[in-house]
Amino acid sequence: MLRRVSSPSLPVVSASSPPHADEGHWLVPRADLARYENATPRRAGIDRMVWAIAEAMFCTDEGPPDAPRLAWLCDDLRDFLHHAGPRARWTVVLALICTFWLSPLLLGHAPPLDRLPPRERAKALDGFEHGSLLTSAAMLAIKALLCILYFEHPDTAARVGFDPRCKTGATP
């Protein structure tokens, strides 16, 4: 039996084996997502910033991602920062704060970011990405981390046609 890695929010390794047999090890097991079915928007702390940025970043022509997926993303990011250590925590939280409070100013809007509708937010983030070294670095850190996590969601993977199999046809 595998031991569970201590985490306040997300089981890193499930107790039963094989843990990711259905989607391969690239993706979150669907069983871990069941508890988010009735999730509601989060409006406080880091979650508020992540929610606002992710809603804009991953907004499609059909609109922003649904609440369960964003709630899972918030939890997974917090789990990431919990495990990754203080330097990662400070770097990412600082980048989130800068982006959340400063990016609307580039469009001439008052902060914070979640006062804007998602498509306007996307423009603000775009401005931040094209800005100075510091704003692009902050945006890069957040974009990279959120994309890495978000594309491990099985629905996102399915949307882009990601087929998590090895060259030999085996599931990882």
Binding site: H25, H83, A84, F162, C166, K167, A170, P172
Partner: protein, 505 residues
């Protein structure tokens, strides 16, 4: 002593241990030393800062779970660029097995031209190809180095190789430490099939079988001294509860990697006489190019790295095939919202190539006592001047293979078709806009022939200290221009053989 791996966190009281040899760090260098000396009958203790994640656990991790658990700082470590230098994302392992668990498995011996530089410019005449050959042979047997067969290449790599042929250069098959690779394309997150022969699957189990203790979650702070002799180390248990560790030993081997070994020496007041401690660090600054093809590529299906080319060695460039997870690909697409979402539908059509610069040593590790080490780096102007050529060459090779557009490693740059790319002025892109990464910090305690310009001798012995050795990538005196894990293991093996044969041992 019965060998085992255990966490220092599990101990209720301060850990006090005695042994013949204490090895600080369990990565490529430390594991090779521990194995060699344990099998020679010495009582060995290995101290590792990171956690012990058994293979059956990391095999089930998603990439981001590996990043948060086994990579240093969740892979967000940044090297601060000085002058006309990009900020560089530096990724390193922090777990039992170190970066060896998280490499693509690429294995190269030190190129002959580099060894000749060591001999002629650094005076290291005992480091010839012939002298090092037994070390490399021993390591290659231990970690099972084999050539990647052509049928394990990913479509991403095959497309670049096709472009290379059309442009008149050839991609060679590379060697890796694998056995039974199934081409899952995610070696750098821990092999899910137990096929990569990283040190946690090779050297460390052998060391433990021979009686070595491997203690995880233990950060070594200082070397204990008695007069001019190293007699052990002290460290802290990692985690919220904390605690201390003290190990007394006849010999101390530092193998904490180029990033941390200089810090241990600096905090101990050792190795500073030459003024070279923590300096001369080379990184192999890396750049990638992503290309979109009309056909599906599914670039993660195949060996993560399978080919290389030294066709541009004159310009200081080594090309290596690679791939990155879909989320990383998505992060390289400029823009946000619906436009980004539409473009991400093409992720399965994207191919990736990477390469690294054979750089001059412009890096410095800073190890202030009140915080974790950090690094600054000044890119040599000749290396910096090569970057536009480097990026053009990779993109034009993809276009020669039929790519529709490329995603250059320039922050915020839109995808470019061949015409737009030809018009793009790479020379005027400021360094602050370049996306650059590194996995190979080397040389922070470089070896040499005299205390005036080096930290150790060619066997890793720290000058003017008895019983203290370095056996990791920080020994490497110049950039290698190729992936370093095999070199690190070979140099560490050479150090270990020396220690094994010392009269006192």
């Amino acid at each position: 002593m019965t060998g085992r791996i255990f966490s220092a966190r599990a101990e209720k009281r301060p850990l006090e241990l005695d042994c013949d040899v204490v090895v600080v760090g369990s990565g490529a260098g430390g594991a090779a030393v521990a194995c060699t000396l344990a099998e020679a009958g010495q009582k060995v203790i290995v101290l590792e800062e990171g956690p012990h994640v058994p293979a059956e656990k990391y095999q089930a991790f998603r990439p981001s779970e590996t990043m948060r658990t086994m990579w240093r700082d969740g892979a967000v470590t940044a090297v601060l660029g000085r002058g006309d230098t990009p900020m560089i994302n530096l990724t390193m392992g922090r777990c039992v097995g170190g970066s060896s668990v998280l490499t693509g498995g690429v294995c190269f011996r030190v190129p002959g031209r580099v060894l000749r530089t060591w001999q002629t410019e650094r005076g290291l005449e005992d480091l010839s190809e012939e002298a090092l050959a037994p070390c490399f042979e021993d390591v290659e047997r231990s970690v099972h180095v084999e050539r990647v067969p052509e049928n394990m290449r990913s479509r991403s790599t095959s497309l670049f190789a096709l472009g290379a042929e059309r442009r008149g250069f050839h991609m060679e098959a590379m060697s890796r430490n694998t056995r039974g690779c199934q081409g899952c394309g995610r070696c750098n997150f821990g092999c899910p099939k137990d096929a990569k022969m990283s040190v946690d699957r090779t050297y460390l189990p052998r060391a433990v079988a021979a009686g070595a203790l491997v203690v995880s979650d233990c950060l070594v702070r200082k070397v204990l001294m008695r007069g001019r002799r190293a007699v052990g180390v002290v460290g802290d248990v990692q985690g919220e509860v904390g605690g201390s560790v003290r190990v007394r030993a006849r010999l101390v081997v530092l193998a904490a990697g180029s990033f941390h070994t200089p810090g241990v020496l600096a905090r101990s007041g050792l190795g500073r006489e030459s003024g070279q401690l923590g300096r001369n660090v080379t990184l192999h600054p890396g750049f990638r190019m992503i290309a979109r093809f009309r056909e599906p590529v599914h670039g993660w299906q195949g060996s993560l790295q399978s080919v290389y080319s030294e066709a541009f060695e004159a310009q200081g460039i080594t090309l290596t095939g690679l791939f990155v997870p879909p989320g990383v690909l998505a992060a390289t697409i400029a823009g946000f919202g619906p436009e980004h979402a539409r473009r991400s539908l093409d992720l399965t059509h994207m191919a990736v190539i990477g390469g690294m610069l054979h750089d001059e040593g412009g890096g410095t590790i800073h190890s202030p006592p009140w915080m974790a080490p950090f690094m600054t780096y000044r890119m040599d102007p000749r290396n910096r001047a090569t970057v536009p050529f480097f990026l053009r060459m990779m993109a034009e090779t993809f276009f020669a293979a039929g790519a529709l557009e490329v995603f250059a490693p320039v922050f915020g740059a839109p995808p470019m078709d061949a015409d737009a790319f030809a018009r793009f002025d790479f020379e005027s892109v400021p360094s602050s806009k370049l996306e650059c990464s590194s996995q190979h910090p080397l040389g922070s305690c470089r070896m040499g022939i005299a205390p005036g310009n080096s930290v150790t001798d060619s066997y890793g012995a720290v000058w003017d200290v008895d019983g203290l050795y370095v056996a990791d990538g920080s020994l490497v005196p110049t950039s290698l221009g190729v992936n370093p894990q095999l070199t690190i293991m070979a140099l560490a093996t050479r150090v270990a053989w020396r220690l094994r044969d010392l009269p006192a041992a």
